[in-house]
């Protein structure tokens, strides 16, 4: 007999992110917990950016998936601890790269306030998801969504998105 919590995980963990459908909301760290309290299910999600317009869609997708599978659950939005790109799984980072988005570095590096001059080392360089080159430059601090910046590869000359550490 599969528990209700496990059934909810099975139903919810595959829900894709509305903006970046190659990764799921679990892989991005948005779907945090599923708990059972006194026979009632509680699904905990956390917002990425404060103003991310996809959050409403994600909550709707979660509710729709629960309803379609006859699961009664309260959907709770929790702010703390604050979402961080460090929660994105390694597997999801590989999927992002294959999708053409350079995955984020560790969030601790985001504390650097100075505008990035050419990367100090290959380890901290934003590498091109198309050709792997570390010889890249930032074109725009913001890109197709609030969570990404726009870069260009100076070797293969392709532009690409970089998922910013948060």
């Amino acid at each position: 007999m599969v528990s209700a919590v496990q059934r909810a995980w099975d139903v919810l963990e595959g829900i894709p992110d509305p903006e970046i459908p190659v990764v799921s909301i679990r892989e991005l760290g948005i779907l945090r917990e599923i708990n059972e309290r006194d026979g009632a299910l509680e699904v905990v999600i956390t917002p990425t950016y404060s103003g991310c317009p996809a959050m409403g869609q994600i909550e709707e997708d979660v509710r729709a998936a629960l309803a379609a599978n006859d699961l009664q659950a309260a959907v709770v939005t929790r702010l703390a601890p604050a979402w961080t790109t460090d929660w994105i799984t390694d597997e999801a980072k590989q999927k992002l790269r294959a999708f053409g988005i350079s995955p984020p570095h560790a969030a601790a590096e985001a504390d650097v306030v100075r505008f990035a001059r050419p990367a100090a080392s290959v380890a901290t360089a934003v590498t091109c998801p198309h050709c792997g080159s570390a010889n890249t430059t930032e074109i725009s601090h913001f890109s197709s969504t609030a969570c990404k910046a726009l870069y260009k590869c100076l070797d293969c000359l392709e532009p690409f998105d970089y998922f910013k550490p948060y």
Partner: protein
């Protein structure tokens, strides 16, 4: 309500939450004026995204304030159905994107003014949000931890352009300097203490901004130095927007922002 609150967890004074929320909302609304009109496409997107973050922060704060207020208050009633005198934002947030003009005369938007304001404000809020992570109001602490991440990036963006324009051409330098000369006096309001701020600081839910003044001064001095700009002498009128005493500009911002919600209450689209 008050009796119930005494038994519950510590919460920040309502006016203090509204001060933080109104700053974010009014600046978010101002920055969004660039949407579709940015000087270059990348900056158009940057301002729209910055606004998205600021309005998101404002929503979280209004939701928190609405929960504390009870009696049918919602994030929308706070954003759309309060008048200028009830807004608690710094006067700096509501000024138009151009230099001082007589009365309500208008001019073209000036990106140097936009950058100077975003720099001065995000340099402050990086320090304020960092302190508020330790607020005794747990929900405010959670909002601060998220907002800090976003504010760091806004500061990076604004600081970069401050240096680029300040240390740029003769034209960009003089416009950046003029924007600073215009806006810097308004930052005097950062360092006065309103009754709401005093109450928040003494209850451990808020921060006394005077405690971050030195760090702010250092950040500003280093950036201005790199940008080859000089810091205008402080002085003149000390604004009191956070106590509800605003410039004539806020009403125009609110008229545009609130018009639809007031004309069609409860409208959905």
């Amino acid at each position: 309500m008050d009796a119930a609150r005494q038994d519950g967890p510590e919460t920040a004074p309502l006016d203090y939450l509204l001060h933080l929320a109104d700053n974010a909302l009014v600046l978010g609304q101002r920055n969004a004026e660039w949407c579709g009109h940015g000087p270059v496409l990348e900056e158009d997107i940057a301002m729209a995204n910055t606004s998205l973050d600021l309005i998101g922060q404002a929503r979280l704060l209004y939701q928190h304030a609405a929960t504390l207020s009870g009696s049918g208050t919602t994030e929308d009633s706070l954003a759309y159905f309060r008048d200028a005198g009830q807004f608690r934002n710094y006067t700096l947030m509501e000024l138009p994107h151009h230099g001082p003009l007589a009365g309500t005369a208008a001019a073209d938007r000036d990106y140097a003014t936009t950058i100077a304001r975003n720099f001065l404000y995000s340099a402050l809020m990086r320090l304020v949000w960092a302190s508020l992570q330790d607020s005794k109001d747990a929900q405010l602490a959670a909002i601060a931890a998220k907002s800090l991440k976003e504010t760091r990036y806004h500061l990076r963006h604004a600081r970069d352009w401050l240096v680029r324009l300040g240390d740029g051409t003769a034209e960009s330098h003089s416009r950046m300097q003029a924007a600073l000369d215009h806006l810097m006096p308004y930052t005097q309001e950062f360092w006065t203490v309103s009754p709401a701020e005093a109450a928040a600081a003494s209850s451990g839910t808020g921060v006394d901004t005077r405690s971050v003044r030195e760090a702010w001064d250092r950040e500003v001095a280093a950036a201005l130095d790199e940008a080859t700009l000089h810091r205008p002498q402080p002085g003149g009128y000390v604004p009191r927007g956070k106590e509800g005493v605003h410039s004539e500009h806020l009403s125009y911002v609110l008229a545009e922002m609130q018009g639809l919600a007031r004309q069609h209450p409860g409208a959905l689209w």
